[in-house]
């Protein structure tokens, strides 16, 4: 019998959950980031309605990411959460504001503007915090024994600010290309225009993070630039270039669906790059996935559930998206 490496399987499951979260909540948060650029009530109603039926499901992947991490890699969860204390709390509070805004803004006319601000501000705060958390993980975390041993401001560095801002740009691009797909007329034209600007900004951000990362740790440099690793790593930037060309072309040709899915492809490549840098650490430079792994019987117990339920979840989630497919028209708004 071939020995099964459970921690590797679980690392992929958690990575998958986080990626699905980025795919699904990314555009959703991106719409919030773009909200200030669409001051018209009519536009805002359409933007809100394009995600109102699905935002809750999107955020559930974040709960799976957190809950799954605690279950499969409790040590990593126990070290990362206190290390990222401030960004995590900021993200949670941001999500509170934007989450309630989905319902609250329809329940008041006097204070609607206030909930629109909460939606935008909460989305920006949550995204910035997620990006900062990512940067803080990449730059390394001070661990002693089985505990975080740093202070509560260790996460704040120029690099983590860079990753934070980069994620805001990236989610905004996802939001803009989502609007291209889901809206019509003047709103869609504005989304095209924004997508151009945001794409250029995102390419700059990917470039900046890619250049900065190898300087964080010699391990990252070796991972990316030494023979024979380079055989595996070189295709990543090449693919980024290819996707960028396709994305520019799809924007120029005013395609409906391609810009969104190609932006997702860009995210996937950046995410793969992240995985290449980190593996096999779950807390970079201190804790590997094998050290952090929960005992085999915990991981096996959950594996059954994941194997059966994740396909089922993807199935009915896809159905929900299918029910609300097509362009959102203001006159048939949900609210």
């Amino acid at each position: 019998m071939i020995p099964i490496d459970l921690p590797i399987i679980w690392a992929f499951i958690i990575a998958f959950a986080v990626f699905v979260y980025v795919v699904m909540d990314g555009f959703d948060l991106g719409l919030g980031i773009l909200f200030p650029l669409f001051p018209e009530k009519h536009d805002r109603d359409v933007i809100m309605n394009s995600v109102a039926p699905v935002w809750d499901g999107n955020e559930t992947w974040l709960v799976l990411g957190g809950g799954g991490l605690m279950a499969a890699f409790p040590l990593a969860y126990a070290v990362l959460m206190p290390a990222l204390y401030t960004p995590i709390i900021a993200m949670l509070l941001g999500l509170v504001f934007r989450g309630v805004a989905f319902e609250f803004r329809w329940r008041t006319t006097a204070a609607r503007n206030r909930w629109d601000v909460a939606f935008a501000g909460g989305s920006i705060l949550a995204t910035l915090a997620q990006g900062i958390a990512l940067g803080a993980i990449l730059q390394g975390i001070h661990v002693e024994g089985r505990q975080y041993a740093g202070g509560w401001w260790d996460w704040l560095t120029p690099f983590s600010i860079l990753t934070g801002v980069s994620l805001v740009i990236g989610y905004a691009l996802l939001g803009a290309t989502w609007l291209i797909m889901k809206t019509e007329g003047a709103l869609r034209d504005r989304a095209y225009h924004l997508s151009w600007v945001l794409l250029l900004a995102m390419l700059a951000a990917i470039g900046a993070v890619s250049i900065a990362t190898p300087f964080l740790h010699v391990q990252y440099t070796q991972r990316w630039f030494t023979w024979p690793n380079i055989l595996l790593t070189a295709p990543v930037p090449v693919a980024v270039a290819a996707i960028t060309v396709l994305l520019l072309r799809s924007l120029a040709n005013k395609y409906d669906y391609q810009p969104f899915f190609l932006t997702l492809a860009l995210f996937m490549l950046s995410y793969a790059g992240l995985g290449i840098s980190m593996f096999p650490y779950i807390v970079p430079q201190s804790i590997t996935i094998w050290q952090a792994a929960a005992p085999a019987n915990s991981q096996i117990f959950m594996l059954f559930g994941v194997a059966v339920l994740i396909p089922l979840i993807l199935g009915y989630t896809a159905w929900a998206y299918w029910v609300f497919r097509g362009k959102v028209r203001p006159e048939s708004g949900y609210h």
Binding site: L92, A294, F301
Partner: protein
């Protein structure tokens, strides 16, 4: 600021605060989701328009409450790590999978079908829509199953072992999941959620009946809610009694705190009705007590001996005054619910059900009683478990994150400010929705053109609205 504070106390305050805010919403949405499924089923079955009106009326309220439950729940799933990292490291292998199963089997189910439930009636038609409503309702119950299993394991841990790293690991998953207090806690909580919702629905119905006793929608919802109170309040008291006996068997110290039994009683313990527990002096001041009744209730024999806190080392005492008082508040609310249920039955039998202003005022005042009881009950069971997170095995003080007090204090203040701002607004919007009566042609959260929604009727010979009166 806050340098001199105890980070563990602040972390406990934060958990108590965020958890108390959170539990209010699931306690309501578990019951309301089931109620909505019943209303839609009745609409599909009878075709009476009053049921779809009530469905749409309560659906709008559900949407707001559910949203608040979701966002306050995401906070909880990360709080274990941020403030209780040592606990997470040690218990993650056991309760982590239970919570992961909650996400996989419940949260996704609720969230996946919620969009269709809220906005999709016209897109998918009545039957598929009912399926979506049913899935959301089932999801809330599955969620209760897993999270109460995890909590119960912390109260009455079984089926585990400890590994070389000091982590709890599961030796027998079935024993972990179906630990001794779990069935009692699950029944008690689900019934509590149903009662809580029934009391809210009843209060809203009563409010509108007080203004106009002929309104069809309020009459139907008031009647349904009062049936619920009449039938479920006595069952809940029985379930609570059984839960108490189970606690006596597995967590006797908690019962001592709930009863204020500082001293052991060799031949029958009294039931202390009221008093001021004095933890330092280890006595209940100004106690009003009934001799032997404590033993009669807990041991079903008036002379049965009962051990008191004097048999327990002081460092293992829970905070007695909180446990003692929160328990009395919960029981008091339960007895009031029983009274409401019986009174409504009496009025029903006498044919004064829709006319008795006294009943309607009573039901209106009882609107928040379920929430108070749920909060008091949770405070009883959680405070009574102290000073442990995993009862008898892991101390609360050894569970916290290695954080300095200023970090925990800052986040606590942030949570307090944000929660009060956001949830106060939410409750105002909920009350505003409830203040308007359900009317014929009631719309759901979707503002569709009225004629189109009214055009969807499940049965051909739909009974017109007026027939209800």
């Amino acid at each position: 600021m806050f340098e001199g504070w105890d980070a563990v106390v602040l972390a406990r305050a934060q958990f108590a605060f965020t958890m108390s805010f959170h539990i209010i919403f699931p306690a309501f949405s578990i019951g309301l989701a089931s109620y909505l499924a019943v209303l839609e089923a009745l609409w599909l079955w009878t075709g009476r328009e009053v049921f779809i009106n009530l469905f749409n009326y309560w659906l709008k309220i559900f949407a707001v409450a559910f949203g608040m439950g979701v966002v306050s729940g995401i906070v909880m799933s990360y709080q274990f790590g941020t403030n209780w990292s040592a606990f997470s490291d040690k218990t993650g292998p056991v309760i982590g999978p239970l919570m992961a199963y909650e996400v996989l089997t419940a949260f996704f189910l609720e969230a996946g079908f919620l969009g269709v439930m809220l906005f999709g009636l016209k897109r998918v038609g009545p039957r598929l829509h009912f399926l979506a409503t049913l899935m959301v309702a089932i999801g809330t119950l599955i969620s209760a199953f897993w999270i109460l299993s995890a909590n119960s394991w912390m109260q009455t841990p079984t089926g585990h072992a400890v590994n070389a790293d000091g982590q709890f690991i599961a030796a027998d998953w079935l024993k972990v999941i179906f630990n001794p207090s779990f069935p009692y806690r699950l029944v008690h909580m689900v019934l509590a959620a149903y009662l809580t919702t029934a009391l809210v629905v009843g209060a809203v119905g009563a409010w509108h009946l007080l203004r106009d006793r002929h309104l069809a929608g309020p009459r139907v919802m008031f009647s349904m809610a009062m049936w619920m109170a009449t039938l479920v309040a006595p069952i809940q008291i029985l379930a609570g009694d059984q839960h108490g006996l189970n606690t006596l068997e597995h967590q006797p110290v908690k019962i001592m705190a709930m009863e204020g039994h500082f001293q052991s009683h060799k031949d029958g313990a009294p039931l202390i009705l009221f008093g001021l527990p004095n933890q330092t002096a280890a006595r209940v001041d100004y106690a009003i007590e009934v001799p032997k009744l404590g033993s009669l209730i807990l041991k079903h024999s008036p002379d049965a001996p009962m051990a008191g806190l004097d048999t327990v080392p002081r460092e293992n005492w829970p905070p007695v005054p909180i446990t003692f008082w929160s328990f009395r508040i919960m029981v008091g609310m339960g007895l009031l619910m029983l009274a409401l249920g019986l009174f409504s039955l009496l009025m029903r039998v006498q044919g004064k059900f829709y006319d008795s202003r006294l009943l309607h005022i009573f039901a209106l005042l009882m609107g928040p009683a379920g929430f108070i009881a749920v909060l008091a009950g949770w405070i009883t069971t959680e405070t009574g478990r102290q000073p442990f997170t995993v009862y008898g095995l892991l101390r609360t003080a050894e569970s916290a994150s290695p954080l300095a007090a200023p970090a925990v204090a800052s986040s606590l203040i942030a949570f307090i400010i944000v929660y009060f701002a956001v949830f106060t607004a939410g409750v105002i919007y909920l009350l505003r929705l409830m203040a308007a009566p359900p009317h014929p042609g009631e719309q759901g959260p979707s503002h569709e053109v009225p004629t189109r929604t009214a055009g969807i009727t499940p049965a051909a010979g739909a009974v017109p609205e007026g027939a209800v009166r």
